[in-house]
Amino acid sequence: MAPMGSQVEIPSDYPPLGMEVGLVERFVRLGGKRVLEIGCGDGRLTLQYAHMAKKVVAIEAERSLVADARRFAREDGLTNVTFHAGSAERMRFGGGAFDIALFSWSL
């Protein structure tokens, strides 16, 4: 237990590692797919499945989170992921460009 006055460690309120990927894969395999993720935050979920996908384009409105996501992806050595800062509603990547469109806690 943290002593009084010290910073309290706050556990993540997201599901444990791998749970969301497992649930998504009940409906569609991520392996080899082109994925558009909308509302990716700091890439928490993106980085869990990106190594399986052919290509991932991930969008997040908050620029600081995009910077974090890019750094984490770099640290993981991922080269098939592109993070974009901005509104998903303003982005155009071409009709039919993706096999999966994923909203992760972002609708």
Partner: protein, 138 residues
């Protein structure tokens, strides 16, 4: 929200899949005090601020289904538990977000009573609920 969903659909290839990971409306986070196998229930949290957002998301989903932009391809629900070691950590966990929940009447008092009477190794358990929905282009 509708526009974002329609745009996501537009980006999908033939045979593609739209996947939504969402909090589950019918089950809000549940609090319990857990010691080993013993689990003493406190109750569900409420979040009036969050409800309209879930309602809007559901309306957006209904809209694209009703207009046959997509067709449902499956839905699953899942829960997961987060264990916390103190009331202070619970408060930081619950109230750190932009739309914090609150206890139903009497819930906080019951939690504090149970926590005061806890034995060694006790944890505060927060059970969260989620749903994953899949859709295919119509």
């Amino acid at each position: 929200m509708v526009h974002a969903l329609e745009l996501a659909r537009w980006h999908l290839a033939r045979g593609g899949t739209l996947v939504l990971i969402q909090p589950l409306r019918s089950k809000r986070p549940f609090i319990a005090v857990k010691t080993g196998r013993r689990r003493q229930e406190v109750g569900f949290l409420v979040n009036p601020v969050f409800e309209p957002i879930i309602t809007a998301a559901e309306a957006a989903i209904d809209s694209i289904v009703d207009r046959k932009v997509v067709v449902p391809a499956g839905k699953t629900e899942k829960s997961f538990a987060v264990e916390l070691t103190s009331l202070r950590q619970l408060d930081a966990y619950l109230y750190g977000g932009v739309r914090p929940p609150r206890f139903a009447p009497g819930g906080r008092r019951r939690l504090e009573e149970l926590w005061r009477a806890r034995t060694q190794g006790a944890r505060i358990e927060v059970t969260e609920f989620m749903t994953v929905m899949a859709f295919r282009p119509a």
